[in-house]
């Protein structure tokens, strides 16, 4: 495949996929919570751009609604809520996350290779462009999980959780030109409720353990102490 021979939309989608993937890696290595939230907002903004692009190029007006929902939820509301939480708790650094950065980044890179490997059979049915887009979305999902594993702060977990949603959303936009409208509205509703619930949770965790370090949530397990 020669990238110069493809049309504008395909080229744009490929660059967007690359940028979204890059933001996931940026989040993975980020130890400062405020900057983590900022990168998350940037990823949300890239998604909004992709959606608008798809809506315009494919002439699919219902994607504009998805774009607005993404903008409001993932670029404005969730980052605002998380930022407020970080400032309130005055925990701007996640020190634990910085300890084994190299291992985590290498793990992230191998997850990306793994995503390409898993989705390779798709090439039979479509162009390599779609493989790139889907593999990047899957790796964003997996990198989101790795982010949750490697960070200790509840705020970072929420960012990981929501960036998993971002990966799924990207897959839906690029591979299938958006899910049916009812489904998209349903998913957006779930994300909104989840965000509100996270807000309530922060309050509860703060009042019960006086910190947002989830390592302190370790009372329930099967190992005798």
């Amino acid at each position: 495949m020669n990238i110069e021979q493809t049309d504008f939309y395909t080229q744009a989608i490929l660059s967007m996929a690359a940028l979204v993937g890059l933001t996931s890696f940026l989040m993975l290595g980020q130890g400062r919570l405020l900057r983590l939230i900022f990168v998350f907002a940037v990823q949300g903004f890239l998604l909004t751009l992709t959606t608008v692009l798809a809506a315009y190029s494919l002439n699919n007006p219902h994607l504009y609604i998805s774009a607005i929902l993404t903008l409001v939820l993932k670029v404005i509301f969730i980052p605002w809520m998380l930022r407020r939480e970080v400032l309130l708790m005055n925990t701007q650094r996640d020190v634990q996350a910085l300890k084994n950065k190299t291992v985590v980044m290498l793990g992230g890179a191998s997850l990306m290779v793994f995503s390409y490997y898993v989705l390779h059979p798709i090439v039979q049915t479509t162009s390599p462009v779609m493989l790139n887009a889907l593999a990047v979305s899957l790796s964003v999902v997996l990198l989101g999980m790795l982010l949750m594993i490697s960070h200790r702060q509840a705020v970072a977990h929420v960012v990981g959780f929501m960036s998993i949603e971002n990966g799924l959303f990207f897959a839906a936009i690029v591979a299938t030109k958006g899910m049916p409208m009812v489904v998209e509205l349903g998913v957006a509703f779930d994300v909104l409720v989840a965000a509100v619930l996270f807000g309530i949770f922060f309050l509860h965790i703060r009042t019960s353990i006086d910190s947002l370090d989830v390592d302190l949530l370790n009372k329930l397990n099967e190992v005798d102490k």
Binding site: T125, L134, V183, G186, A194, F201, I205, S208, L220
Partner: protein, 487 residues
Amino acid sequence: MIAVYLVLLIPLAGIVFFALGGHRDDMGKLNVRFNAICLLATIWLAVNVLNQGTILSDNKAFLIDPFNVYLIVLTAFVGLTTSIFSAPYMAHEKELGKLTDNRLKLYYSMYQGFMLAMYLVLTTNNMGIMWVAMEGATLATVMLVSLYRTPESIEAAWKYFILCGVGIAQALFGTILLYYAAMQIGDGESSLLWSVLYENASKLNPEILEIAFVFMLVGYGTKIGLVPLHNWLPDAHSEGPTPMSAVLSGLLLNDALYAVVRNKMLVDGASHSHIAGYLMMGFGLLSFLVGALFLHRQKDIKRLFSYSSIEHMGMMTFAFGIGGPMATFAALLHMTVHSLTKSAIFVTVGHASQLAGTQSMDKIRGLIKTQPKVGWGLLIGTLAIAGFPPFGVFTSEFLVLLATMHSYPWLAPLLLLGIGIAFAGLFRHIQPMVYGDKPEGQQPVKANLWPVIIHLGLVLWLGLAIPEFLANWFSQATLLISGSTPL
């Protein structure tokens, strides 16, 4: 068709009513009434299906066939009986000062929210909406797990939220891949409808569908409680209010398994490699054995029975994985009897821990002497869940065992071993709790044991003779899932 809308609108009205209405003392009774009306609506729906066969709504949004109709009635039934139990139970918890009026309002509103999500998972024909509703069920119950606001309950709820949220995100990726595969053969919004996909299953690309199924199994499997994705389950069950444990074990796990089986039907139609079946067998058997082993080291009575749920869900997943008509029939029956028995057990467990004032099994003693109904209820319920004849669980486990010996004889010893380990694990804990002298000062509590009696009665009935219409539904569902009838 009106019946389907009624089934969905009644709990919706319930959410709004409890959330926006002021606090009232009779909320428990009203909750029972909402569930009772809903049960009537589902029975009406079931009668329609009995007379007309499969119903597909005009806009194709809802599909009621023999596979989901009995699950819908079962959901409504367990929802009703659990609400009957929950009314005095929650009133008692409030007297103990564990709850405030507002949290009670939240509880009843979300009870209806959970029921709505369950009905939507079962009735919808759209695989995307099925995912949305499944996630909705998590969101509705997450605040209920942390209802008591103790540090442990908040930890359990956080774990539940994160694990199930991340897990179920995998299922959405699977759904997107499924939609992608469907778009190769036809365009438009209808490509995510199960009925359309099922008709065209043979045209779908088998490799994409197999990848999609792996994601679906991991995603919905988190909700089923399959090992190693089960960590949230014992925590959520033990820290939430007991009525919630009853509906989580009895309904949520079943419905997640239902979603997996619906997807398996599509994959089986597209590919003939039986990979979906092998995956389910592997995960199922692992969960079954791990669940059985972990029964032995539990200290908390609700954790004990949640591991028992993991064990039974593992067995059902395994049976659906085998995929032959007898195994499928057995799995369908097991879904029904497990759900009835397990919710009955959680009702008695709730009363037992209320009268002992603790959930720790070392401190619960002399139940039969304190309150015979609770003690015997727990003992008989445990007998039923351990698979003693003549209860229904025996019948279904026996059929699973027969099917295994027929198709994979070398797995039968593992299954027998697991059943034995689980039996020992349950009884070593239950016996000292029900027999023996009562501790000083232990008083009976106000308890309504009708739900337990009715549930265990039904399980006994299903063990002795399955009513003809139910057997017909099971046979038709088996035909739909496995391609042939068991008899």
